[in-house]
């Protein structure tokens, strides 16, 4: 693969063309915060945590969907970016009802980890306290909309990897919600294969296996990434 020169955070690098900024950063141990990104499923650039500054561009661009180009000068850790990462994290927490104290994912939650990483000790913006449902109709799993951050990993893994298209998104703006089929109970789904991929890629306590108690959720997110990788190998 052809190599191109570029600079990330002052470090000169030779990288493969055709890769995204996020891929290149990972290969070079440069930490980029992500939430909607998940190894093995398509990127949508929605969470805005991976925004980077590129010299010569006034817009901030998401590392997950922006391809590297020769002689780019990329910054991933400016004060502005850090400030925005923190606001994004605060908005995540304020949008729905994240009651860590009673959450199955407490202690094993990507949203909590994000909060610790950006040093969020409190949310400065008013909590929205929306009314959100908990769907327990599925025999094995629970969907708790209170904990959902609309990263849409479940939607994408269900359509791209499993091919079932059980999940979708309804409404728009702050009223968006993940839906199963016709916004019908998950247990009544005609498309769900109960494959558990969505449960394993969910970053928070929104999707979890039944009979899990507070703080006891165990996930296996690698399962999906490895599955996708093995499929590509054509063994």
């Amino acid at each position: 693969m052809a190599k191109i020169p570029l600079t990330i955070d002052g470090k000169p690098l030779e990288v493969d063309t055709g890769k995204t900024i996020l891929e290149v950063c990972k290969e070079n141990n440069i930490e980029i915060l992500t939430m909607c990104h998940f190894e093995g499923i398509g990127d949508v650039g929605a969470c805005r945590l991976c925004l980077v500054e590129i010299e010569g561009t006034t817009k901030l661009l998401p590392a997950c969907t922006t391809k590297v180009a020769a002689n780019q000068v990329i910054k991933t850790n400016t004060e502005k970016l850090k400030k925005y990462q923190k606001i994004t994290t605060e908005l995540f927490f304020a949008e729905r009802n994240h009651i860590c104290a009673v959450c199955v994912a407490d202690g094993n939650c990507e949203l909590q980890d994000l909060g610790y990483k950006v040093g969020m000790d409190h949310v400065r913006f008013p909590y929205l306290f929306p009314k959100a449902e908990v769907d327990t109709s599925h025999p094995s799993y629970v969907m708790d909309h209170n904990r959902c951050i609309m990263c849409t990993r479940c939607v994408r893994v269900c359509s791209e990897v499993e091919g079932a298209h059980n999940w979708g998104v309804k409404n728009r703006g702050v009223e968006v919600r993940i839906i199963s089929d016709f916004d019908t109970p998950w247990g009544d789904s005609t498309t769900c294969t109960s494959c558990s991929k969505c449960v394993n890629v969910c970053p928070t306590g929104a999707l979890w296996p039944k009979a899990t108690v507070q703080g006891q959720l165990v996930k296996n997110p690698k399962m999906v990434s490895e599955l996708v990788a093995k499929r590509k190998m054509n063994l």
């Binding site: 009802n97 994240h98 009651i99 909590q112 040093g119 000790d121 409190h122 949310v123 400065r124």
Partner: protein
């Protein structure tokens, strides 16, 4: 001069105070530098001017609101202690329901043997507000220590820094804990 310290219990379960007690013998270091002048277990009607106020719990009633406004006025440093004070936490879980429905469920519909299914209405009872609010949505908060309960080590760290006239920095991963 010794500093003055107060701890307050608003809408919470007192778990944060338990965690405060979990600093164990280090409480002796705290009282070397500060007098605890007001505390749920210290008798005293007035809330005197203090250097540091540790406030547990969220604002759930009119009484809490008045109390908090007073504390803000008489405290140099106000610390929100624990998830209820910082996020509304479990106490805030009634925010997506109607207050009347919640009370109805608790006092009228619930199986109870002391109220005969009646809503208590004594004028001396505190009045619940429609929405439970974390402290920073009501007054300015100087420091927030999240956690349900917050780790004893973090509580002690913050107190020790402030009592020694240093500025605590909570924006470090190991100091923060949610839930």
């Amino acid at each position: 001069m010794k500093k003055k310290l107060a701890t307050v219990w608003l809408g919470g379960c007192s778990g944060c105070h338990m965690s405060l007690l979990d600093i164990d013998e280090r409480i002796l270091e705290v009282v070397k530098l500060a007098d605890i002048v007001k505390c749920p277990i210290v008798d005293g009607k007035e809330f005197p001017p203090v250097d540091i106020a540790l406030v547990e719990g969220s604002v759930t009633s009119d009484e809490h609101l008045q109390e908090l406004l007073h504390i803000r006025e008489v405290s140099k440093v106000l610390i929100a202690l624990g998830d209820c004070a910082v996020t509304a936490n479990v106490t805030g879980m009634r925010n997506y329901l109607k207050k009347e429905d919640v009370l109805d469920h608790a006092y009228v519909k619930a199986v109870s043997n002391d109220q005969q299914g009646k809503m208590p209405g004594h004028p001396a009872l505190l009045k619940l507000r429609d929405k439970v609010l974390p402290l920073q949505e009501v007054v300015h908060v100087d420091y927030a220590i999240p956690g349900c309960p917050p780790p004893a080590d973090t509580i002690f760290y913050v107190l020790a820094e402030l009592l020694n006239d240093r500025i605590p920095n909570l924006e470090q991963e190991r100091k923060l804990k949610y839930g």
